[in-house]
């Protein structure tokens, strides 16, 4: 005896959406995901349909599909792997953040998402997520170094220095440490310390010296004031 063939809910949902029947598409997508949580395309398409149509049904679909439940993790991962040529920056940000919420126990997911968010210049979110990742991957130099950089961009210089210290203890290359230490010290208004680090880094020569020379052009607070002339 053979079981009944399960309908391809996802294809039916796509067809319904194409007809403009978003209410039906909503029901079918819901079934597609619940019966086959591994089918990432269903969540992915649900999100797309929800975003690109303005009907009340689509709004319901959006409200449902953005719910951060583990059943959608496959969909969000699929979305990350297939961002599409037109995927907007904010859409990618939103997907990355959802993956993080859905995968709190997986340091590699968090680290990858955090670095991707840093690449999208969402530094506050990146710093937060890389912070979570670093608690799971305590000795992962790549994650700790990325965390130090994100905190710098998110204007948390003290936090960045602390992450950089941890990265250094885990074997971060001295050149990388010196350049970023100088940046973070400057950002923390510790200019004298930063200048000392810059001198050491420039003495190493090569690419790091050139980068430090560029960084060294940054104006210091004392440059903005001059002593009144004696007349």
């Amino acid at each position: 005896m053979t079981g009944a063939v399960r309908p391809d809910w996802h294809s039916l949902a796509v067809a319904a959406a194409k007809r403009g029947d978003h209410g039906r598409a909503f029901q079918l997508l819901r079934r597609a995901i619940l019966f086959d949580p591994g089918n990432g395309r269903a969540t992915c398409d649900g999100f797309t349909m929800a975003e690109r149509t303005g009907s009340p049904d689509a709004a319901r679909l959006a409200a449902w599909s953005i719910h951060t439940h583990p059943v959608f993790l496959g969909g969000w991962r699929y979305r990350l792997d297939h961002p599409g040529r037109t995927a907007a920056r904010e859409e990618r940000q939103s997907v990355l953040k959802r993956v993080c919420v859905l995968s709190p126990g997986r340091g590699s997911d968090l680290a990858a998402a955090g670095q991707a968010l840093a690449g999208l210049a969402d530094h506050s979110a990146a710093a937060k997520i890389l912070g979570w990742a670093s608690t799971l991957l305590r000795r992962d130099v790549v994650t700790l170094f990325a965390l130090a950089q994100s905190r710098f961009h998110a204007r948390d210089a003290a936090g960045g220095l602390s992450a950089l210290d941890r990265a250094k203890a885990c074997g971060l290359q001295p050149e990388q440490d010196l350049f970023w230490r100088a940046r973070l010290l400057m950002a923390a208004s510790r200019h004298a310390d930063a200048d000392r680090v810059l001198i050491v880094a420039e003495s190493l020569g090569g690419d790091i010296a050139e980068r430090c020379r560029i960084l060294g052009h940054t104006a210091r607070p004392s440059d903005f004031r001059a002593v009144p002339p004696n007349e």
């Binding site: 907007a88 950002a187 560029i214 052009h217 001059a226 009144p228 002339p229």
Partner: protein, 441 residues
Amino acid sequence: MRGDLAGRAVYLLIEDAGRELDSRILIAQHLLERGAEVWIGQQLWFVRNFTALRPGVALFKGTNIAQVANMRAARLAGHRTASIDEELFGLIGTSGKRMHDPRAGRHCDLFLAQGAAQHEFLRDSLGIPADSIRITGNPRADLLRAPATAPIDRAAEEIRGRMGPFVLINTNISGINPHDQDTYNYYRRCIALNAIDPDNPESVESFHQLCAFETENLRAIAAFIAAFRAAAPDRKLVIRPHPAEDPNSWRNAHGGDPGIEVVEDKRHLAWIRAADALVHTSCTTGLESALLGTRTIGLVPDPGNPYSRRYISNLVSEIHQDPARAARALADGGSAPAPNLTAIGNLIHIDPDEMAAAKTAGALAGLSITISGETRTGRPEAGFRSFTPSGRQRDQMTVPEATLRGRLRELGSAIGLAEPVNCEAIQQDVFRLRPDSPRVP
């Protein structure tokens, strides 16, 4: 020409409202007068929605790598493209080829040149066919001449009433005092915009020269402030940092001095107009100040640096190498020497009989009529994709509807084109303007 653009659409893309909004409004007024429908607003919204907009003419703010990529998107969606180089307005040179994507000739249908020198550069250095270039001048110069100065005068009056007399210092050291923390970030941004080639030692050396130039300028400004405060302790100084700078550096240094105020108000022309004098360090605002008739003092501490010879403002300002002498000259009073505008005729075309905005509208109209009527009406203009600006983009381009309506009314009234306009907000910072009543050719 009244009504000859009826049914046609022109898209005016804005990157930085402080720099471009008013000049785009002047262009819009002339296009509306001719019956066109004008869309104006956040450039990145248009980039996301070119396929949903009916084919028209899109005006971009330059031809760097990012702008040309956007032009390509517009062309693929059936639009015609034009550019006016807003980075060039105050420059003697032409920013070199690096600020111009080599694909510009392929994706830009019409280049609007601000003067004969730019026309020559586009033709001879970038290989743009002469019939794709029009010398229109820059509508930003219109805003500095009567009759368009009336709104600036009103705003200046309000500022002066509030502040009393003051000397304005406009700083422009965004390379060494950037809004995003340090010079290395600025360097990365320059690379992203193709302004620097990190693999070319000459290009990198030029960046170092720029930083050295800014460092000397910062020293000169600091020395000027100290000297002027000593020479004229009762006179007020207002420091207005460039919008791409970190204003807190100035606040931290001078916040405790009651004779110094740091302002971030974006109405830079009104502040110049309201000031007794403007002090600058090779800044475009020096050119604007001279055209507005405000006394303009340029500090050029290092005349040998190539960057000191790049800016038109230094051709029309009262130049001082020694900041202390500049401070004394200003403290002693004196009137503004008339700017030497003949020295810049080749760089900025100023036609006493026709505004650059009118010439620009005319050039865009010429491009618009190459779009067939069938194509023009073939797209629904619906289902627009939203655009959420980043913090920086919001800082650069936020225009409330009331502000746009006010500027349309004020500038329209000043230049005698104040007929009612139907203004519709499409999304935040994006507007569709239509003549209130149909224009008949």
